[in-house]
C-alpha cells in the first residue's frame, strides 16, 4: 500500500520538478516496484551476485556478506574487491548490527535469503531483493543481466552498465574468434562441478539454461546437456553414472575439492566413458557459478587461457 503511494508521489514529484534529471528512480525487484532516491554510494551486498554487480559498475561496496569466500574465489576479478569492504557475516544470516554501523544507503540481496530479515533491513536502509531463480523456464544468463541492469538503475550508473556489457560482448566475440582459430567452433561441450560426497563422488552437471552454459554458447560452443527437470536451478547434482549418457561431447569439469576428482576418476565406469577414452576432457578452475557478471567474465577468460 505505502509502496504504491510512495511511487505515486515519486511520479508526481518527478513530473512537477520536470527539469532534467530527477533524483528518484524506479526499480523493479522481486517484491515489486521500488523507488530509490538519491545516488546510493554506501552499498551493502548480501551475496556474491550483488558484490559482482557493484564491482562491475565501478563502485566498491562498503559491506559484503561471505567476504572471505568471495576473496578466495574472485581474487582475479577485474576490478577486484578492495580492502575497505567490511565483513557483515554469513550470506544466510548477515549481521544487522554491523550493517547498521556502516550507515549504508542501499542494501542488495537475494529475496530467498531475506525471508526473515527484510523488514529489519528496510529499517536500516532501502533494500532490494532479487530472485535468482524466478521461474522454471528462465535463461539464467538473461536473469543475471536483468538484475545487473536493475541494480545499475538503482545506483544511477546505467551508462557504466551499458559500457560493461558492451565490453563483455566484445570480450566474448574475441574469445570466440580465438577458440575458433584453435578449432573449437561448434564443438559440443558439457560442464560439471565435481566434489567428493561421503560415499560417492558428486558430479553436478550444468543445464543448458544455466549461466556457464550460456557463456559457452556465446563462445561458439554447442551445449550438450539439457534436462527439463532441472531447468529451475540449472543444475543436476548426480553421480558419475549420469555422465554415461553424454556422448560426442568434450567434458569440462570444475573441481570443488581434489578428493572429488580423484573419486570420480577412480570409478571403474570412468575409464569407459566416451570422452575419457578419446581424451576430450579439461579441468577448469573452480568458480561459484551462481553469480554475477564478473564471474561470467572471469569464466570466459579461464576458458580461453585453457583451450587456446
Amino acid at each position: 500500500m505505502s509502496l504504491s503511494r510512495r511511487a505515486l508521489c515519486a511520479y508526481a514529484g518527478a513530473w512537477i520538478c520536470a527539469s532534467g534529471s530527477s533524483s528518484a528512480v524506479e526499480v523493479r525487484d522481486a517484491a515489486g516496484l521500488r523507488t530509490i532516491s538519491g545516488k546510493p554510494r554506501r552499498i551493502v551486498a548480501l551475496d556474491a551476485r550483488h558484490t559482482d554487480n557493484v564491482l562491475a559498475l565501478g563502485l566498491q561496496p562498503v559491506g559484503v556478506a561471505g567476504l572471505n569466500s568471495y576473496r578466495k574465489f574472485m581474487a582475479d576479478a577485474e576490478p577486484p574487491l578492495g580492502h575497505s569492504a567490511a565483513d557483515v557475516g554469513s550470506q544466510s544470516t548477515p549481521n544487522l548490527e554491523v550493517i547498521l554501523q556502516l550507515h549504508p544507503d542501499l542494501i542488495l540481496g537475494s529475496i530467498r535469503n531475506m525471508q526473515r530479515s527484510r523488514p529489519m533491513l528496510e529499517a536500516i536502509a532501502p533494500t532490494l531483493g532479487f530472485d535468482p531463480y524466478p521461474d522454471d523456464h528462465a535463461d539464467l544468463y538473461d536473469v543475471m543481466v536483468e538484475t545487473f541492469r536493475s541494480v545499475a538503475t538503482a545506483l544511477s550508473r546505467e551508462a557504466e552498465a551499458r559500457a560493461f556489457l558492451d565490453r563483455l560482448e566484445d570480450q566474448f566475440s574475441a574469445a570466440k574468434a580465438a577458440l575458433a582459430a584453435s578449432g573449437f567452433a561448434g564443438r559440443r561441450v558439457a560442464l560439471a562441478t565435481v566434489y567428493s560426497g561421503p560415499t560417492a563422488a558428486q558430479v553436478a552437471i550444468f543445464n543448458d539454461n544455466s549461466l556457464p552454459a550460456r557463456v559457452l554458447k556465446r563462445l561458439g560452443f554447442e551445449y550438450a546437456y539439457a534436462d527439463e527437470r532441472f531447468r529451475h536451478v540449472g543444475l543436476h547434482a548426480s553421480t558419475v553414472e549420469a555422465l554415461s549418457d553424454i556422448r560426442d561431447t568434450t567434458f569440462l569439469y570444475m573441481p570443488l575439492n581434489a578428493q572429488g576428482v580423484r573419486g570420480m576418476m577412480e570409478a571403474p565406469l570412468w575409464r569407459k566413458l566416451d570422452f575419457v577414452r578419446e581424451r576430450r576432457l579439461y579441468e577448469v578452475p573452480y568458480r561459484v557459478m551462481f553469480s554475477g557478471p564478473l564471474t561470467a567474465q572471469a569464466f570466459a577468460r579461464d576458458l580461453v587461457r585453457l583451450l587456446r
Binding site: A30, A31, G66, S69, D87, V88, G89, S90, Q91, S92, T93, N95, L96, E97, V98, L100, Q101, I111, R112, N113, Q115, R116, S117, R118, P119, M120, A123, G129, D131, P132, Y133, Y195, S196, G197, P198, T199, A200, A201, R229, H232, V233, L235, A237, S238, T239, E241, A242, S244, D245, L256, N257, Q259, G263, E266, A267, P268, L269, K272, L273, F290
Partner: protein, 673 residues
C-alpha cells in the same frame, strides 16, 4: 510330520526369498542413466556393450546388494532391540549411532578431508560407535535401565546434532553435500561399500542365529530367564554390541535410514512368527526387500521430479505403521512409562519459596546483560548509557531496535517452551516429553518449507503465520486421533512420534528439492535472528495470557501423576484435564515456534532444572520453569551472537551444546538417588 507352525515358517521364508529377488530385479532397473531391466539382463547374460555392463555391474549391482545388506542389518537390529528391551517400538535409532556417524563425517569432511578420502567408511562407523559408547556410559553403564538408555540416547543425539548443525552453519558450501547424505542413499560407486559391509553384516547375522535360543528366553521377564539358566546381563550386552555393529556399518555405508528396524520385525510378527531361529532370517529378508523397494520407489519418481531421499521414503512407509501400532497396542508395557524418573526428591538447592524472586532478578540481570553485550562499535559501556537516556543515535538504534526485541522474544519464547514442556511431561507422564514429540515443531517446519518453495518472496509475517498454522495442525491431528483413547499418554506419545516422523519425512523431501536455491538450514535450527518488535509484542501479549492459565489448571494437572483410576476416584475428569493441559501446551509451543523455529532442548530441560529449585506443587513448577526457560534462551541467543562474530550461531544449536552438560548432571544425580 510337519507341524502347522513349521509349514508357516517355511512358507514365509520361501515367500521372503522370492520377494527379495523380485525387489532386487525392480531396483536394478532404475538409475541415473538409461539402462533399464533389459539392459541389466543383457549385461549379465552377455550381448551388452562395455558401458552398459559397467553401469550394471559397477553401479546397479553393488547398490542393490548394499540395499539388501543394509535392510537386513537394520531389520535384525530392530528385532533384537524389541526382544531385549521388551518393547514393540524399540529401534536402533535411540542409541545415537546416526548422530555420532553424521558428526564424524561432517567434522572429517570439513576439518580433515584427506582423512575422509582415505577411510570414510571406517571413520563414520567409528563415530557412530563412540556415540553409542557415550550413551552407554551416560546411562550408567552396568546400572542402565531401558528408560535411562533412551534418555541418554536422546541427550547424546540432541547434543551431537547441535554440534553438527553448528559445523554446517559455519561452512555453507560443504553443508549441501552433507545434508544430502543425511537423507540416506544407496548410491555406490563401485564395490568398496559392499566389501566393507559384507563381513560385518554376515558375521553379526550368523552370531545372532547362534544365540537365537537365548533370545527366545530373553523375551520372558528377567527372573524367569535367569531361573532357566540365562546370564541376562551378558546377553543384553551382547545384543547391544551386535546392534551397534550392524547399525554402525549401515549408517556408514548408506547414511541414516529409519523405520526399517521398526516395520520389518512387526510384519514378521504379524505372520505369527515368534521364535528367533525363524524371526531373525525372516526379519532380514523382509528388511532387505522393504529397503530395496523403498529405494526403487524413490528412484521411480526420477522422470517427474528429483528423487526424494531414501530416509524420507522409509519414514513415509513407517510412520503410518507406527501410528497404527499406537492405536492397536494401547498401553505399551515397559520402558517408556516411568513418570518423573528424573525428579530428585533429595535436598533442594534453595528454599523454594524464594526461588521465583531470585529467578526473576536473575532474568532481569541476564536480559540487561544480553542487551549491552556486543562486539563492534557499540560495546557494553555505550550500550548501558542508552538506558540512562544518553544521546547516542547509533547505540540507541542498536540496543532498542535490534537487541531489545531479540532479548524479549528470547525471554518470552523460552518461557513458553518451558511451560509447554512442563505441561506435556505431566500429561504424557513421561520425563522425555516436549512439544516436538507431539508434532508441533515438525508441522511448523513443513508449513514454512512449503511456503518457502511456493512463494519465496512472501512477507515475514506470512512465514510466522504458516509456522503457527502448521504447528497447530499437526498437534490437532495427534490429539484428534488420540481422543478415541481418551488421550492416554502412551497412545499420544506414539501418535506424536508418528506424526513427527511424517513431518520429518516431508521436511527432508522439501529440503532436498530446494537445496540449491534456498538456505533451509536457517529455518530448521531455531534461532532469534532478525526478530522485530512485532514478534516481541505478539509473544508478550499471548504468552503472558497463557502462562497464568497453565498456573490455574496446575492444581488438576498435578493429579494426573496418579494413574487414571485413582485420579478419577478423587473426582478428576481425566480426559478433559489432559485435553485442557494439552491445548495450553500446544498453544504456547506453537506460538513460540512460529517466532523462533524449533528449539528442542528447552522444553525438555527447563522443567527438570526447575523441579530442583521449586516446591512439590505443579504451580510453583510452572513459575520456575517459565523463568528458567527465559533465562536459558536469552543466554543462548547472547552467546550465539558473540561467539563467531560477525556471523552468528542460532540459539537452538547453542542450547543443544550448552544444555548437554546440565542434563548429564541431572541424569547422574537422579541415578544416584
Amino acid at each position: 510330520m510337519i507341524s502347522p507352525q513349521e509349514r508357516r515358517d517355511a512358507l514365509y521364508i520361501a515367500l521372503g526369498v522370492t520377494a527379495l529377488i523380485a525387489a532386487f530385479a525392480v531396483n536394478v532397473s532404475y538409475g541415473e542413466s538409461g539402462v533399464g531391466s533389459t539392459g541389466f539382463t543383457r549385461a549379465i547374460i552377455g550381448g551388452a556393450d562395455e558401458l552398459t555392463r559397467e553401469i550394471a555391474l559397477g553401479f546397479r549391482a553393488p547398490r542393490a546388494l548394499i540395499g539388501a545388506l543394509a535392510g537386513a542389518a537394520l531389520a535384525v537390529s530392530g528385532a533384537l532391540m524389541q526382544s531385549v528391551l521388551r518393547n514393540p517400538i524399540a529401534s536402533p535409532g535411540i542409541l545415537g549411532v546416526s548422530s555420532g556417524a553424521f558428526l564424524a563425517l561432517a567434522a572429517g569432511t570439513i576439518l580433515a578431508p584427506e582423512l575422509i578420502e582415505a577411510a570414510a567408511l571406517p571413520l563414520t562407523m567409528l563415530g557412530g560407535m563412540l556415540a553409542a559408547a557415550l550413551v552407554y556410559l551416560l546411562a550408567g553403564a552396568r546400572r542402565a535401565t531401558p528408560l535411562r538408555t533412551v534418555l541418554a540416547g536422546l541427550i547424546v543425539g540432541l547434543t551431537l546434532d547441535g554440534l553438527t548443525d553448528t559445523l554446517l552453519l559455519l561452512n555453507e558450501n560443504q553443508a549441501r553435500s552433507l545434508i544430502i547424505w543425511s537423507g540416506g542413499s544407496l548410491t555406490q560407486t563401485g564395490w568398496t561399500g559392499v566389501r566393507f559391509a559384507f563381513p560385518w553384516v554376515i558375521g553379526c547375522l550368523a552370531l545372532t542365529l547362534v544365540l537365537a535360543r537365548q533370545f527366545d528366553l530373553a523375551v520372558l521377564d528377567g527372573e524367569t530367564a535367569r531361573a532357566l539358566g540365562q546370564r541376562t546381563e551378558w546377553l543384553i550386552g551382547g545384543a547391544i554390541v551386535i546392534v551397534l555393529l550392524l547399525t554402525g556399518v549401515t549408517v556408514a555405508t548408506v547414511g541414516p535410514v529409519g523405520f526399517i528396524g521398526l516395520v520389518a520385525p512387526q510384519l514378521v510378527k504379524l505372520a505369527g512368527i515368534r521364535r528367533h531361529r525363524i524371526l531373525i532370517p525372516a526379519s532380514a529378508l523382509t528388511g532387505a526387500t522393504l529397503l530395496l523397494l523403498a529405494d526403487a520407489v524413490s528412484r521411480s519418481l526420477n522422470p517427474i521430479t528429483q528423487s526424494p531421499p531414501l530416509g524420507a521414503v522409509t519414514a513415509m512407509m513407517g510412520a503410518p505403521c507406527l501410528i497404527w501400532l499406537a492405536v492397536k497396542v494401547g498401553r505399551a508395557r515397559g520402558s517408556f512409562h516411568a513418570a518423573g524418573s528424573l525428579s530428585v526428591s533429595a535436598a533442594r538447592l534453595v528454599d523454594w519459596r524464594a526461588t521465583p524472586v531470585v529467578l526473576a532478578i536473575a532474568l532481569i540481570a541476564v536480559m540487561l546483560l544480553a542487551c549491552t553485550l556486543g562486539l563492534g562499535a557499540v560495546g557494553p559501556a555505550r550500550a548501558l548509557l542508552v538506558f540512562t537516556g544518553a544521546d547516542d543515535d547509533l547505540a540507541r538504534r542498536i540496543v532498542i531496535d535490534l537487541r531489545l526485541p531479540r532479548v524479549l522474544v528470547a525471554a518470552w519464547a523460552g518461557a513458553a517452551f518451558a511451560v509447554a514442556g512442563a505441561l506435556l511431561q505431566a500429561t504424557l507422564q513421561n520425563p522425555l516429553a516436549d512439544s516436538s514429540l507431539i508434532g508441533v515443531s515438525g508441522g511448523a517446519t513443513v508449513a514454512v518449507l512449503v511456503l518457502m518453495g511456493t512463494a519465496p518472496g512472501a512477507a515475514v509475517s506470512l512465514f510466522s503465520l504458516a509456522a503457527l498454522a502448521g504447528g497447530l495442525a499437526a498437534a490437532f491431528i495427534v490429539y484428534s486421533l488420540g481422543s478415541r483413547a481418551y488421550f492416554a499418554p502412551s497412545t499420544l506419545l506414539l501418535l506424536g512420534v508418528g506424526v513427527a516422523a511424517l513431518c520429518g519425512s516431508v521436511t527432508q523431501i522439501l529440503v532436498h528439492m530446494n537445496i540449491f536455491t534456498d538456505t533451509p538450514l536457517v529455518w530448521l535450527v531455531g534461532g532469534i535472528y532478525a526478530r522485530s518488535w512485532h514478534s516481541a509484542w505478539l509473544l508478550i501479549a499471548t504468552v503472558t495470557g497463557l502462562i497464568p492459565v497453565a498456573w490455574l489448571i496446575g492444581r488438576w494437572v498435578e493429579i494426573l501423576a496418579f494413574d487414571s483410576a485413582s485420579a478419577t476416584a478423587i473426582g478428576l475428569n481425566v480426559p478433559r484435564t489432559r485435553l485442557a493441559a494439552g491445548l495450553v501446551a500446544v498453544a504456547l509451543a506453537a506460538l513460540a515456534v512460529s517466532q523462533t523455529g524449533p528449539i528442542g532442548y528447552l522444553g525438555l530441560l527447563a522443567p527438570h532444572a526447575a523441579r530442583m529449585l521449586s516446591g512439590p506443587s505443579f504451580r510453583s513448577l510452572v513459575i520456575s520453569s517459565a523463568l528458567l526457560g527465559a533465562i536459558g534462551l536469552v543466554l543462548a541467543d547472547m552467546f550465539g551472537r558473540v561467539i563467531v562474530y560477525p556471523s552468528e550461531l542460532p540459539a537452538g544449536a547453542v542450547m543443544a551444546v550448552v544444555g548437554a552438560p546440565y542434563l548429564i548432571y541431572l541424569l547422574r544425580r537422579s541415578g544416584r538417588a
